[in-house]
Subunit: 351 residues, 2 copies
């Protein structure tokens, strides 16, 4: 009996090239080959290898956390990372800041026809390495191909599930006047690294993206602070401005930031000046902003400082009662200004 696979083999060899073809997305033999050659070798694990329509993650305890994020960063590779690292870290961090232990990632890949397969390997390798670093597995996935010119290169979409310990609650509505605000390091580097790579590819800069999975840091700080930690968020799109303006509005409190305590590396400051941007508005991908009751602030700060991703942690502000929620910056020269959510697209396609 002739076997199905052997019939089409010569046609496949003839077509095998070094770029993504539209036919790679048809759900047929070529899709299988694309996955077998360029996806599974990087991220193989027992659950993914089952190749069911949905993965079976088994029984779980705790509350279930669920998130999704699309990554359309341009260029797909930038100093300090690439879309693969960004997609895993971004979703791990969305879980981590809600207090969830990341359990599994679902990975959607949208490829443009013509995208070099070697670049796909680079991205998938980065996905795998970052997932390993964050101790999370890729449990399920999907790959689509769109025509040349219908997407630029590669988009990744990551959904994540995690489990939140039963008694842990992190929510803007738990933030109270007096809470201290802690940030784990300097701001602005991710957005600036991507912008420089895109807008000024010939400029050599030392600014590199801070993209990193933060779950081991958040677990360490929660172990130190327990339920004294009232809220966490990662200042990604919209930057620290967007985060604090949003928190102030939702908690209906005054969020006060001390400019002197917010680190900006000199190279990042220079790049932001050159691009006409405020570092407060720029996206970070390896920063976490923590609200904590004052009695536990020093303990949480120490726990953060003893972690490699928190060594530059500092108390950057506090929360006050207010009749109307807003965010205020105490500037280094002694002034005060309102911090607003950035308006629109100062930094397109940075994640």
């Amino acid at each position: 009996m002739t076997q199905a696979n052997s019939i089409a083999a010569p046609a496949y060899s003839a077509l095998k090239r070094d770029r993504v073809l539209l036919a790679h997305g048809g759900g047929g033999q070529l899709t299988d080959e694309l996955l077998a050659d360029h996806v599974f070798p990087h991220i193989s694990n027992r659950i993914l290898d089952d190749l069911l329509d949905a993965s079976d993650l088994g029984r779980q305890s705790g509350r279930l956390a669920f998130t999704i994020d699309s990554f359309v960063v341009q260029p797909w590779q930038f100093p300090g990372g690439d879309v693969g690292r960004l997609a895993i870290a971004g979703t791990v961090n969305d879980l981590a800041v809600t207090g969830a232990k990341p359990l599994a990632i679902a990975l959607g890949v949208i490829l443009a026809e013509g995208f070099p397969l070697a670049n796909l390997d680079t991205v998938m390798n980065s996905v795998a390495a970052t997932a390993k670093e964050a101790n999370v597995r890729i449990a399920t996935g999907d790959t689509k191909v769109v025509g040349h010119g219908h997407a630029d290169g590669i988009y990744l979409i990551t959904a994540g599930v995690g489990t939140i310990p039963t008694k842990r609650r992190l929510n803007p509505n738990r933030v109270r006047p007096g809470d201290k605000l802690i940030l784990n390091g300097p701001i602005g580097e991710h957005g600036l690294a991507v912008m420089l790579a895109r807008e000024m590819p010939d400029v050599r800069s030392v600014v590199t993206s801070d993209v990193a999975p933060l779950n081991s840091l958040t677990e360490a700080l929660l172990a130190a602070g327990g339920n004294n930690v009232t809220f966490m968020r990662d200042p990604t799109r919209g930057g620290l401005s967007g985060l604090c303006a949003d928190l102030a509005q939702r908690a209906n409190l005054r969020v006060v930031l001390e400019e002197s305590q917010i680190l900006v590396h000199p190279a990042a400051r220079h790049a932001a000046d050159m691009l006409g941007l405020d570092p407060l508005d720029i996206a970070n991908e390896g920063k976490v902003f923590v609200a904590v009751k004052p009695r536990a602030a020093e303990k949480v700060l120490r726990a953060m400082k003893s972690h490699p991703l928190g060594k530059d942690a500092a108390i950057v502000g506090h929360v006050e009662a207010a009749s109307e929620g807003f965010c205020e910056l105490h500037t280094q020269i002694g002034g005060r200004r309102i911090v607003q959510k950035p308006y629109g697209e100062q930094l397109p396609r940075i994640c």
Copy 2:
């Protein structure tokens, strides 16, 4: 004290237009407006409205199922549905065929600059209606905007979580010789409806997509068949050919299909002939293929026939022992042929 929001209001009014702007994706005030005006009104619910980085779905019992799918269908609207209905039904069905009760959907939206906001409303309305039909909620989401020409219109990405009752196991490796194969209706309609809409927009055809959430049908058939149901899958990309060739290979069995029992509507048959396609290879979005032990086949078939989405259900084949897994079609004129997984891109961008 001047409030943050009031400062930017005039600028926003001046910019407010009827199409998606790049600035809608910046994570700032314009992103909030886009979501507030065109997304949340359609899909609002208590969990989504919390707007946390990850949604808290609470404690769950049973095993956890997890899936993701990207939807890049072109055109975004087609006879019988649109990308919104497709995205919800597709992910609900991936959960349903693994035996999971859909719990929540995470929705990623990638918009191209210039996409009409009225069309976004149509899509989101369709998302909401289909989610309601499937009794599943949109728990979390993410919206990105890419430049004009970098994506054609709108891509949706849906991840889903569900719970599988502890003792339920549906897996190719549970399929045994003698199992009957049941399909819930005619094939080929989704792929053909999309292809006709794209390639022959001036041709009027009665072929409409079968896109529908199947979870109430699968729950009904599982209630009838219990653990006698050994495997289910929805024949989407790759069609019934791809599904059966894959099942045969993974279960290492001979999958026998009876052409006379596989329904193809005359209009679909005509369209497939015109496009030079085999209905067996064409994607469906409202069909489920069920393997069931022979003793329960009639009972499962009756349960399916009494459901609106299963009224045309039929036993379309069976499984035999084989030294090497393959799929064989018994044709209507008494012949036999091997059914292969389609090679590549006969039907690009149909989901």
